[in-house]
């Protein structure tokens, strides 16, 4: 252990230089968590809100979340997509209670304030007062202006059918935010084809939200934790792979090409999860058909900081939305999709391979579990720290996956933005 007898340090400082040792308190402090919401989710960053395919028609809306703030993604009568905060300008109510639907306008049931699909306040009951016995009773003050009391409007960017929004209207353009390298992997999936939503999966994971970003910046674990990846060669240390980051080290792509699997002692010897004799009884679970748009790699996992993970694992494609709620918990919402030109066979294939992923997935259920167990370890001794030193101390793109460099990169960025 660290030798520090204090379990709950009063004014903790980051241990040492660099970002290869992450203090447990980075996952347990409420004050830091609120700062993360302010600095990552509510300013300076684009956050995922959904897919255009979820709201194809004018008036379609879907309620979602950025950080802890409820927002509504809506297509207006001109076909444009707006994102507004789900908080009435009058008394602060989260007025939109349905998760999705179609509306001509929004209104708050409490006092019936009415908003356009762009978020402009259109009407206030009794604004000019109520006439009774020849007198006008009440009414809003004469200087009250509708245009000063709209819903909070977010800046919106769409690309390839994906909708991002930001409370920060000074945020850089989405393309610059992603940077050229990550943009290329983003465009690989979202190359302009219309998306077909297959459905949702929702889980509440009792762990700090950053752990999910780290999970998908950690190519070291999948071939060890996940039997299906190690045994069937879907993802493991002897696969041909690359790790790529943006210039700030906040986003990353883990790119891998499936190997033959089987027994390579170098990578599976002594690995508990590796099952030499394992065969699937129903081969449809691994009925992988390469698609032209992959351009080679069989899996690309992209982390867009702070809010979303883009999954392509063989024929299974999804966005995974991180919705934090408190320092020790986040909701994880999976939107699985396909493409408009998918054959019925391909749709079925995507649906069957989806058994590997999500809250019950052969692979992904483990990830939620280990995140919960990490958080438990952090809570019991916030003065301690993790050791993220596989592959050394540096932060750099890589041509293999035996490294935790992407996590070090994320914490270098985190330290800079958080001033820690």
């Amino acid at each position: 252990m660290s030798g520090n007898p204090t379990v709950f340090p009063k004014d903790p400082v980051w241990p040492g230089e660099g970002s290869s040792r992450i203090p447990f308190w980075a996952y347990t402090r409420d004050d830091l968590y609120k700062q993360e919401l302010e600095r990552f989710f509510y300013s300076g960053h684009w956050c995922y809100v959904g897919l255009e395919a979820e709201i194809p028609n004018p008036g379609d809306f879907r309620r979602t979340v950025i950080g802890e703030r409820s927002v509504i993604m809506v297509r207006d009568t001109n076909g444009a997509i707006n994102v507004v905060e789900n908080v009435c300008a009058h008394r602060g109510m989260r007025f939109c209670r349905e998760r999705h639907g179609n509306r001509k306008d929004f209104f708050c049931p409490y006092h019936q304030w009415n908003y356009s699909l762009e978020g402009n306040l259109q009407g206030v009951p009794f604004r000019r007062g109520v006439k009774q016995d020849g007198k006008i009773n009440g009414g809003m003050p004469p200087e009250f202006k509708l245009e000063e009391h709209g819903l909070t409007k977010l800046k919106v960017a769409t690309r390839g059918g994906v909708v991002f929004a930001s409370f920060d209207h000074d945020v850089e353009p989405l393309e610059e935010f992603l940077g050229p390298t990550i943009l290329q992997y983003f465009d690989r999936v979202f190359n302009g084809r219309k998306l077909k939503v297959l459905g949702y999966r929702r889980q509440r994971i009792p762990g700090n939200w950053k752990l999910m970003q780290e999970n998908i910046k950690d190519p070291y674990h999948p071939g060890l934790l996940h039997t299906w990846f190690s045994t069937f060669g879907l993802w493991r240390a002897d696969n041909k792979s690359q790790l790529r980051m943006d210039e700030h080290f906040r986003h990353a792509a883990m790119i891998s090409t499936r190997g033959q699997g089987g027994k390579n002692d170098e990578v599976v010897s002594g690995v508990d999860s590796f099952k030499d004799q394992m065969k699937v009884n129903d081969p449809r679970l691994l009925d992988i058909v390469p698609e032209p748009w992959w351009n080679g790699p069989t899996a690309v996992m992209t982390t867009v900081f702070p809010s979303v993970i883009i999954q392509q694992q063989v024929n299974s494609v999804s966005t995974r939305h991180i919705q934090p709620n408190g320092h020790g918990s986040f909701d994880f919402v999976w939107t699985h999709f396909g493409f408009e030109d998918d054959s019925e066979e391909m749709t079925q294939r995507r649906l069957i391979q989806a058994n590997l992923f999500g809250p019950a997935g052969f692979v992904s259920a483990d990830d939620g579990e280990v995140i919960e167990w990490s958080q438990e370890g952090f809570e019991q001794n916030p003065a301690h720290r993790t050791v993220v030193e596989m592959g050394g101390y540096d932060i750099a793109d890589s041509e293999h996956m035996v490294t935790e460099t992407l996590i070090r990169g994320m914490y270098a960025y985190w330290r800079k933005v958080m001033g820690q």
């Binding site: 939503v197 509440r204 009884n281 129903d282 699985h336 019950a360 939620g368 919960e372």
Partner: protein, 164 residues
């Protein structure tokens, strides 16, 4: 078309529901596939997908062989916090019957509630939903041709490992 079934058949149906619950609550996972016919399917689907006509399930096991693959996953490959589960299954409601007096295909449904208890933990409602089943008569008794579990539970408490 709604038809009645005789009490003997209904009794067998009751047994199927209670035997299934007993098997999945007793951690006897190998018994689980035996409740299905060979081309039987098991699907666990969020209510929101079902109601919107979206096909995605949490689990979509398309054959008894695939259900066996899940058993192998539960027993051998998925690292997870161990837990007890307890199914409370309501009285099945027969929706329709095909096959006349033999009642060889029954469409029925039943509410269920699954309570989870982890080591050192309290017992909490884990998953709440209803089964929509197609049940067929086989030489070995009634078996599931398909079981669709549509669950209300909006947020899965981290993960689901064992069969519902």
């Amino acid at each position: 078309m709604k038809m009645t079934i005789d009490f003997q058949t209904y009794f067998e149906l009751l047994n199927l529901y209670s035997d299934y619950a007993m098997a999945v609550d007793s951690a006897e996972w190998e018994k689980w596939p035996d409740f299905f016919v060979e081309d039987g399917t098991y699907r666990l689907q969020p209510r929101e997908n079902f109601e919107q006509g979206l096909p995605l399930c949490l689990l979509a096991l398309e054959s008894r062989a695939m259900i066996k693959d899940r058993v192998y996953g539960v027993k051998e490959t998925m690292y997870h916090d161990p837990y007890y589960q307890r199914h409370i299954v309501g009285t099945p409601r027969v929706i329709s019957v095909e096959g006349g007096r033999d009642a060889d295909t029954i469409h029925s449904e039943a509410n269920y509630l699954v309570v989870r208890t982890k080591y050192d933990g309290e017992s909490t409602v884990f998953n709440s939903g209803h089964y929509r089943d197609v049940i067929v008569r086989t030489p070995d008794g009634l078996r599931l041709k398909s079981r669709l579990c549509i669950y209300d539970t909006e947020m899965i408490p981290n993960s689901i490992i064992y069969p519902i």
